[in-house]
C-alpha cells in the first residue's frame, strides 16, 4: 500500500512519564496480579477462620509489638518515598541519590522487624492450618519487601553512575516508589487481618 503522511511525531518527547509510560502501566498490571494474590490469601484466612471452632487455632493472638512497629515504619517510609518520586520528576539527581539510600534503609528495617514478627505469631507453619495461613501471609509480604528492596538497591546504585541523568531511569525511580506504596498499602490489609481479626 502507498503511504501518505498525515501526522508529524518528531516534536514528541522520547519518553513519557506516569500514564504516558508503558512501564507505569506495567507496574500497575503487576500490582493488580499481586493484589489479587494478597486478596485471595486473605480470603483463605477468612475461609479457614469461618470453619474453625475457635480462632486462632490452639494459639494466643499474635503479640502486637513487632507488627505494629513494622506498620509504623512502613507508614513513615511513605514520606521519603513520595519525596524521592517528586525529586525524580524534578530531575534532581543529587536528591534522588540521597532518597534512594534512605529508602534502602527503609527497606531493610522492616525485614529486621519481620524477623521478630514470625516468633510473635506463637505458632509454627506446620502446627495447624491457622499457623500455615499466617506464615504464608507474612511470607508473601516479605517477598514483596525483599523484591522492592532489591529493586531500590539496584536503582540506587544506578543513580550514582552515568546512567542516572536520564529521564527514563528517573521514571523507573518513580515506578519503584509507586510499587513501594503498594507494598505498604497491602501490608495494612494484612496487618488488620493477622493482628486484629483474632482479637474480634
Amino acid at each position: 500500500m502507498k503511504h501518505r503522511i498525515v501526522l508529524d511525531l518528531s516534536e514528541l518527547p522520547q519518553h513519557g512519564w506516569d500514564s504516558a509510560s508503558p512501564t507505569w502501566w506495567g507496574t500497575l498490571a503487576f500490582e493488580l496480579i499481586e493484589g489479587t494474590g494478597f486478596a485471595l490469601a486473605i480470603a483463605v484466612y477468612l475461609y479457614l477462620y469461618s470453619l474453625a471452632p475457635a480462632w486462632p487455632l490452639d494459639a494466643p493472638p499474635p503479640d502486637l509489638g513487632p507488627g505494629t512497629w513494622l506498620t509504623a515504619v512502613l507508614l513513615i517510609s511513605v514520606i521519603p518515598n513520595v519525596l524521592v518520586s517528586k525529586w525524580a520528576r524534578e530531575e534532581k539527581v543529587g536528591r534522588v541519590r540521597i532518597g534512594m539510600i534512605v529508602m534502602s534503609v527503609f527497606g531493610i528495617a522492616p525485614l529486621v522487624l519481620r524477623a521478630y514478627e514470625f516468633p510473635a505469631m506463637h505458632i509454627s507453619w506446620d502446627t495447624n492450618a491457622y499457623g500455615s495461613v499466617v506464615w504464608i501471609l507474612l511470607g508473601l509480604h516479605t517477598t514483596h519487601i525483599i523484591t522492592d528492596l532489591g529493586d531500590t538497591l539496584v536503582l540506587g546504585a544506578l543513580m550514582f553512575t552515568r546512567h542516572g541523568h536520564n529521564r527514563r531511569r528517573l521514571g523507573d525511580v518513580m515506578d519503584n516508589a509507586l510499587y513501594w506504596n503498594f507494598v505498604v498499602v497491602t501490608w495494612l490489609a494484612i496487618y488488620g487481618c493477622i493482628y486484629w481479626i483474632p482479637r474480634l
Binding site: R4, V6, D8, L9, L12, I33, Y47, W135, H163, G171
Partner: protein, 637 residues
C-alpha cells in the same frame, strides 16, 4: 538528549522509502544463527515459536486421547493398566489446558495484537521472550516427568486429598503443581504485555470504538488471566507446601479444608474456560466480516458481550461444586449466574448470523470453520445451561455427559475457530496460503469426526458411565457406543493429521499470498506477508474501524520517528492521541538466562524448600543484568 539535538538524517521523513526500509530492517533485525535465535525479542518470531510448540503439545495430547480411546473401545481391555491410564488422562487434560489451549490463544494475540493495533513490537518484548522460555521449560518438565514414570495421576484439577501428602505419594503431584507455576508465569507475563500494548501502543486515532474485535477479546482475556491465575498459583503453591514442608491448608485434621482447594481451583478454573473461549470468539468476529464482505453487525454489543462474559466468568465457579453439599442459597445463586452467561454468548451468535445474513458470504475454509463452530458451540452451550441446573448436574456429575459437554465447548467453541484462524492468518504468518481443497477436507473430517466421537458420550453419561474409569465390565450396556466412539475418533484424528500435513506442506510450497489475500479490513493486512521485523515502515494513522476498506489504496501514516533506534508511538488510552516516541528494547540474552535460573529454582524447590532461598540469588543477578542499561540508543530519553 532533547528532540532538537537529534540529527535530521535519523528521522524517517528525511530519507527516501528504500533507505527507510533498509535502515529500519537493520535497526529491528534479529541476527541470523544461534545467538540471534536465543536473543530475539521480535514478537512475531516468539509468537511463531509459541504456536509451533503449542501445536506439538496438541499432537502429543491427541496421541494420549487416541490411547484412551484404544483402551476404552472394548470392555475389560488390557491395553493400558489403571496406573498408566490415570497418568494418561491427567496428562491429556493438563497438557491440553495448560500447554496447548491457553498458550496457543496467547500466541495468536502475541503475533496479531501488535500488528492489528499498528505498532512495531509488543510492550515489554524481553518479558515476552522470557515468557516463551518459561512456557517451554514448563512443558518439557511435565513431559519429562511423564517419560520418567513421574507423570501426574491426579486429574487435571488435582483434587485433594488425592493429590495431598497422604494419598499422593512420590513426586507426581508436585510436578503437576510446578508445571502450573511455569505456565502461569508465562501466561501472566503475556497478559501484562497485551494489556499495555492495547492501552498504550495503538496507532494514533485508534480510539476505543475503532479497536478490532480480536484485540478487544485479547484485552478482556488478559484481564481474566491477571485476575484468575493468582488463584491457581496460590492453590498449587500451598499444595506443594502441604506436601513438602508440612503445612495444613488442606488437612481437615488440623483445621484445613479440602473444599478450599476446589474453591481456589475453580475460581481460576472457570475463568480459564473463558480465557480459552474469548480469543476464539474474537477470531470469529474478525473472520466473519471479511468473508461476509461487510462490516460486523453490532460492534458495540459484541464488545459489551466480551466485557460482560469476562465479569460473569468470576461469578460461576461454584457450579463445578454442586455435589459437594453447599448451602442451597449458594447453589441457586450460581445456577442463575451460570445460566446468565448464556446471554452474552447468545448476543454474539445473533450478531454473527446477522452479519452473514446481510452480507455476501464467501465460503472459504475459515468461514466453514466458523459455521462448524456455530453448530457445535450452540450444542455445547445448551448442555452448559442444562448442567447449570443443580438437579440435572447431580445426575450427570462426573459422567461422560460432562466429558461430552466440555469437549463441545472447548473443541467446538475454541479449537474450530482456532483452526479457521490458522487458515485465515497463515498467509500473514508465512507469506503463503494453505490449500483450500485440503482445507475443506479438514473441516469436513474434523466436524463429522468430532460430532460422531463426542455426541454419543452424552448418551453414555445418561447411561451412567463415569469419567476417568480405565475400563468397564461386560455386563454394563456401554460397549457398543464406546466402540462407535473409538472408531469415530479415527475420523477426527484423520482430520487433525490432514490439518498438520496441509500446514507443513503449505509453509514450504503454498501459493504466495500477497499482503491482503482475503481483502480484509484490519491493519495486519496493511503490511507485507510475513511482515518485516519493524512491522510498518510508518506507523498507521486510523480514522475508521475498518481502515483498509475506507481507504483501500492509500494508508494514512505518521512520520517523524527515529530510524537509528527501535522507536514506536505511545498513545493515550481512550482517544489514542500521540504522547511520546518511546523506544522498544533491543535483543538480549538476559530473558533466557533469567528463565534458566527460574527453571533451576522451581524444579529444585520440588525437592527442597531451601531452593527458594538459594535459587533466588541467580534470578536476582539475571534480572539485574536484564535491567542494567547498556548505553544503546534505546536507553535515551
Amino acid at each position: 538528549m532533547t528532540s532538537e539535538a537529534i540529527p535530521l538524517d535519523v528521522r524517517d521523513r528525511a530519507i527516501d522509502d528504500d533507505t527507510l526500509r533498509a535502515r529500519l530492517a537493520k535497526t529491528w533485525a534479529t541476527p541470523r544463527g544461534l545467538w540471534g535465535a536465543l536473543t530475539t525479542v521480535d514478537h512475531k518470531i516468539i509468537a511463531r515459536r509459541y504456536l509451533v510448540t503449542a501445536f506439538i503439545f496438541l499432537a502429543l495430547g491427541g496421541i494420549l486421547a487416541v490411547l484412551m480411546r484404544l483402551q476404552l473401545a472394548r470392555p475389560e481391555s488390557r491395553v493400558l493398566g489403571p496406573d498408566f491410564y490415570n497418568q494418561i488422562f491427567t496428562m491429556h487434560g493438563s497438557n491440553m489446558m495448560f500447554l496447548f489451549a491457553v498458550p496457543v490463544m496467547e500466541a495468536m494475540g502475541v503475533y496479531l495484537v501488535p500488528l492489528m493495533v499498528g505498532t512495531r513490537n509488543i510492550a515489554f518484548p524481553r518479558l515476552n521472550a522470557f515468557s516463551y522460555w518459561m512456557y517451554l521449560a514448563g512443558g518439557i518438565t511435565l513431559w519429562l516427568s511423564f517419560a520418567l514414570n513421574m507423570g501426574p495421576d491426579v486429574g487435571w484439577f488435582a483434587y485433594v486429598p488425592l493429590s495431598g501428602p497422604e494419598y499422593g505419594a512420590g513426586k507426581r503431584a508436585d510436578f503437576w503443581a510446578q508445571m502450573i507455576t511455569f505456565t502461569e508465569v508465562a501466561a501472566l507475563a503475556v497478559a501484562v504485555e497485551i494489556v499495555v500494548t492495547v492501552f498504550k501502543q495503538r496507532a494514533p486515532g485508534m480510539s476505543l470504538n475503532r479497536i478490532p474485535l480480536f484485540v478487544w477479546s485479547m484485552l478482556v482475556t488478559s484481564f481474566l488471566v491477571i485476575m484468575a491465575m493468582p488463584a491457581i498459583m496460590i492453590a498449587s503453591s500451598t499444595l506443594i507446601m502441604d506436601r513438602l514442608v508440612g503445612t495444613h491448608f488442606y488437612n481437615p485434621a488440623e483445621g484445613g479444608d479440602v473444599l478450599l482447594w476446589q474453591h481456589l481451583f475453580w475460581f481460576f478454573g472457570h475463568p480459564e474456560v473463558y480465557i480459552i473461549f474469548l480469543p476464539a470468539v474474537g477470531m470469529v468476529s474478525s473472520m466473519v466480516p471479511t468473508f461476509a464482505r461487510r462490516p460486523i453487525f453490532g460492534y458495540l454489543p459484541l464488545v459489551l458481550a466480551l466485557v460482560a462474559t469476562g465479569i460473569l466468568a468470576f461469578g460461576l465457579w461454584v457450579h463445578h461444586m454442586f455435589v459437594t453439599g453447599l448451602p442451597r442459597v449458594g447453589e441457586s445463586f450460581f445456577t442463575a449466574s451460570s445460566m446468565s452467561i448464556a446471554v452474552p454468548a447468545g448476543i454474539q451468535i445473533f450478531c454473527w448470523i446477522a452479519t452473514l445474513w446481510d452480507g455476501k458470504p464467501v465460503f472459504k475454509t475459515p468461514l466453514l470453520f466458523v459455521l462448524a463452530f456455530l453448530f457445535t458451540f450452540i450444542i455445547g452451550g445448551m448442555t452448559g445451561v442444562m448442567v447449570a441446573s443443580v438437579p440435572f448436574d447431580t445426575q450427570v456429575h462426573d459422567t461422560y455427559f460432562v466429558v461430552a459437554h466440555f469437549h463441545y465447548v472447548l473443541i467446538g467453541g475454541a479449537v474450530f475457530p482456532l483452526m479457521g484462524a490458522v487458515y485465515y492468518w497463515f498467509p500473514k504468518f508465512t507469506g503463503r496460503l494453505m490449500s483450500e481443497r485440503l482445507g475443506r477436507w479438514v473441516v469436513g473430517l474434523v466436524f463429522v469426526g468430532f460430532n460422531l466421537t463426542f455426541f454419543p458420550m452424552h448418551i453414555l453419561g445418561f447411561e451412567g458411565m463415569p469419567r476417568r474409569v480405565y475400563t468397564y465390565q461386560h455386563d454394563v450396556p456401554w460397549a457398543a457406543l464406546n466402540l462407535f466412539v473409538s472408531l469415530s475418533s479415527i475420523v477426527l484424528t484423520a482430520g487433525f493429521l490432514l490439518f498438520f500435513i496441509d500446514a507443513i506442506r503449505s509453509a514450504r510450497r503454498g501459493v504466495a499470498a500477497g499482503d491482503n489475500p482475503w481483502g480484509a479490513a484490519t491493519l495486519e493486512w496493511a503490511t507485507a506477508s510475513p511482515p518485516p521485523p519493524y512491522n510498518f515502515a510508518h506507523i498507521p494513522v486510523v480514522d475508521d474501524a475498518n481502515p483498509l476498506w475506507s481507504a483501500p489504496e492509500t494508508l494514512t501514516v505518521a512520520g517523524g520517528l527515529r530510524v537509528d533506534r527501535r522507536e514506536l508511538v505511545v498513545t493515550s488510552v481512550a482517544e489514542a492521541r500521540p504522547e511520546a516516541r518511546e523506544s522498544s528494547p533491543a535483543n538480549s540474552i538476559w530473558p533466557l538466562l533469567t528463565a534458566l535460573a527460574t527453571t533451576v529454582m522451581l524444579i529444585w524447590s520440588i525437592f527442597s524448600p531451601w531452593a527458594v532461598v538459594w535459587g533466588s540469588i541467580p534470578i536476582a543477578i539475571a534480572l539485574t543484568g536484564w535491567f542494567w542499561p547498556k548505553g544503546t540508543p534505546e536507553d535515551e530519553a
